[in-house]
Symmetry: C2
Subunit: 519 residues, 2 copies
């Protein structure tokens, strides 16, 4: 961040005039209104990122692994101050924030490990083959390479793990891309403090200037996303805000990839066998999951399908009313929830629905029938961000397959069932077409950071259904493939050299080859 | 294809009214005007594809490998008739068409092999780990899965390899996706005959009904692309046509991935060392490459940068004027070229520029200086589809790095240089940011179908820069990841089972594992 006078923020009107259709003066990208600070000069940020990009693309994965570990170390060194600031700005409890910071440093270190392992480079070596069936094959070597400067728009609900030094930043820096990080206005001071740590760590670890910058303000975000120097965008937030940004990225003269992780309802389907065997456990599990963290998770289960059963709604009502009200992240999120609750009250029957008070927002649960739900799937699958959910009572599990086959894209879908339930296979099959993660006899809140995690899905859960925003494969979003044809050995990047100096996996003449064999 | 009365094609006006901004009545998607046939009913096609999708996603990779091999066998069995029809409709020479059909069946068979090898499934098994650093990790298993019905818009310039049974079809079917193939009006009878073979082969090999259908007409294409049942699109053609379709896909209420492989200029940079050592070979190679196939390749080198040298333009002029005129694919492509040539004549100096006559179109070459080229990069990097190119004379190879760093996205970029030329590394580095394939001392025409091929690049060479449309990795365009959390073993898909019944590569607890070890 420079202290130069603000050039860009003086002229937000110009940006708005240029592309009225996607300009969003009402502040839907963030969940609270914001005005830009004068702490940065957007043009300088963009220029520095563009200037850093070629040098960053040339750094070795091992160098970048060192950057990420240095950031992790420095965040940990400042843990107490960071957590205190986060508590103050987000109302989240200390324990949760400490563990979220732990998750954040883990993400950075796991990405570092993955960088060293090297299979993410997808290095392929095809030696020249004069007898190749479609005609003599030249020597061809393919690998992935940094896509260039990435604009990342931070989320409010994970002030560490999906914010300034979160997973998007870890994977974009890891891929070798300069990061322009748009701070969430829900935790501005925490964002600035984290950014200062990230920048200092990168400098100390030898990263080029321009590798990371913090920006603020919606007009600035949109302007950056339109700028030809920005080569990809990433976002975590609402469907409405994500759509505004996706449309900007797609309607550029030169469209760029835009990875938005948006809303999700995360429906949970309880089969009769589960209710028969584990009724209390299932109902308690659902209520715990949708009220966890005041319902402010993108994986919160917002709809529960249960077989119609005597007393079940009463039991759920008691569980819900026993959950204390808690403060939400900020006023804007709370008022968004109240607006959605007003619609929900019109559409469905209350099971438990108390008013918010000074201690915070209590959970709300509504009920409807499967026939009514099928009639208006759009309403059922509109997100309520916060501790609110709908129970849908069904008569026959066959209805669930019909509903599952019409689901809008979801980050997760949950099935509660006893082993051997005959209704499960068809339901799982239908859900696999519509959800990024299928949870069996568990609950979707809790996203493990590991190779097998998929955090994504079709629209509206994301804007890019073939990618994930959590786990090592998230690196791929910021990488572009390039092939080198007949390049002299001395000019080849290390990843695709015969002698394999990086000691990484390579596919050589069609065969995946272990690093031990080629090193 | 059904013989039902046409429902949809009676109402093109409705489609046009709904989304005027992206409707394209002037016929830019295809390169010749077209009217729909009444041989298919779009609604039935879409319904059949949607109905086939779940069953196709469940088929094993080995079953689908068998579909692709059956198609290849049946195309070969009909080779003489197919080639004769292609000759008649496209004016391409017999030898080229025979070899293109060979490439097409090779693509199908290579995709079949890749399906069996299985690493494309990206199967990941993470066993439950109570000691995982971010909290107990559940059992998680991730794999890729068919995205659903794909609309593929065929190209005119490869009536086999990028048309009905081309690479997009091979990879979409291979991924397990129903294909709705929009025929190119440049070879309608060939398209219909090929489609009949593909459908019969799929039926014989046991593929579900609805696995493949041919459609025709631009209004129908746009309507299909807007339909919620279509889950991805692929296209090979012009920047203008691709942009129309990309905008439709991106502006849907539920945006879907759209993989357009559009125009490319494929600049070639000749360093002084190459001219000094191999002047005649280099100039001849360039002329051969830009006139090959009457310049109707997406990898045609359209701009050549050469050091200013006495007599060089004259030598190029002689080489170009010695190339015979040849008929182009169709009248619409020829008139598009003539329109572009009129602009080129205004902007640059002719080196060799004869008029078309009844024997066809002769090649045209124009010249300009590097300073003029830098002034108007947009004009220099606008495609002329056909045998036309521009030579840019430069004074200092340093200018090339400046030009390379500002290149719009390219499918290829070529460097001609002697080993050890000091100007090469910086140039290669800058080009790697902007081109999908870097060719050294060769020419870009000729796209080998092999693991290491990258056929793609940033806008405008494609609409999806992190993907390729040629080579095994092209499968990934039609696959969506899904994770299964704590699913009982009996309900898991084969790809992610512990016993690995498919005998494929799996990443188990972080380690890539050879099939031999787990089978």
């Amino acid at each position: 961040m420079s202290n130069q006078p603000q050039v860009v923020t003086d002229q937000p009107q110009v940006v708005a005039d240029q592309r009225e259709a996607v300009t969003d003066p009402s502040g839907v990208i963030a969940d609270q209104p914001e005005t830009a600070t004068d702490q940065f000069d957007l043009e300088s940020v963009l220029e520095a990122a563009a200037a850093a990009a070629p040098a960053m693309a040339r750094t070795s994965p091992m160098e970048r692994a060192n950057w990420l570990r240095t950031i992790a170390d420095d965040l940990e060194a400042d843990r107490d101050a960071l957590v205190a600031l986060a508590q103050q700005e987000t109302h989240l409890p200390q324990g949760r924030l400490v563990s979220e910071l732990g998750r954040t440093t883990f993400q950075l270190r796991l990405t570092a490990e993955v960088l060293e392992e090297g299979s993410w480079l997808e290095a392929v070596v095809d030696h020249a083959d004069p007898a190749w069936p479609t005609g003599p094959r030249p020597d061809l070597r393919r690998m992935l390479r940094a896509i260039g400067p990435v604009l990342i728009v931070a989320a409010s609900n994970f002030p560490f793990a999906f914010s300034v030094a979160g997973g998007d930043t870890a994977t974009a820096l890891g891929a070798g891309c300069p990061v322009i990080l748009k701070a969430h206005p829900g935790h501005p001071e925490l964002s600035r403090r984290t950014a200062t740590i990230v920048q200092a760590a990168l400098r100390r670890a030898g990263a080029p200037d321009g590798a990371f910058a913090l920006i603020e303000g919606e007009a600035e975000t949109q302007q950056a996303l339109k700028d030809p120097r920005v080569r990809a965008g990433a976002f975590t937030g609402s469907v409405r805000g994500g759509r505004v940004l996706f449309d900007i990225a797609a309607s550029r003269p030169d469209p760029i990839p835009f990875y938005g992780e948006l809303g999700s309802i995360n429906p949970a389907f309880v089969l009769p066998s589960a209710i028969q065997q584990r009724r209390s456990e299932v109902l308690k599990g659902f209520v715990d999951s949708f009220t966890l963290g005041v319902g402010q998770f993108c994986t919160k289960p917002g709809v529960l399908f249960v077989p119609k059963a005597e007393g079940l709604l009463d039991e759920l009502g008691e569980l819900v009313s026993a959950v204390d009200a808690s403060p939400m992240l900020n006023d804007r999120i709370e008022s968004g929830l109240q607006q959605r609750l007003a619609e929900m009250r019109q559409q469905w029957n209350p099971v438990s629905d108390a008013e918010a008070d000074e201690s915070g927002v209590p959970p709300s649960l509504f009920a409807t029938s499967s026939s009514a739900a099928i009639e208006d799937m759009d309403a059922l699958f509109e997100e309520a961000f916060g501790p609110a959910a709908v129970v849908v009572e069904y008569d026959d599990p066959k209805e669930l397959v019909e509903i599952a086959s019409r689901l809008p894209g979801q980050l997760t879908a949950t099935v509660q069932s006893e082993d051997g339930d005959a209704a499960a296979p068809a339901l799982l099959d239908a859900l696999s077409d519509h959800a990024g993660r299928i949870v069996w006899n568990g609950w979707p809140t809790g996203v493990s950071v590991t190779w097998a995690m998929q955090h994504g899905g079709s629209w509206p859960s994301t804007t890019a259904s073939v990618h994930t925003s959590v786990g090592p494969t998230a690196l791929r979003r910021f990488l572009q493939p390039v092939s080198f044809q007949n390049l002299p050995a001395a000019l080849l990047p290390d990843a695709v050299r015969d002698e394999n100096p990086l000691g990484i996996w390579q596919r050589v003449d069609g065969e995946l080859t272990r690093p031990e064999q080629s090193a």
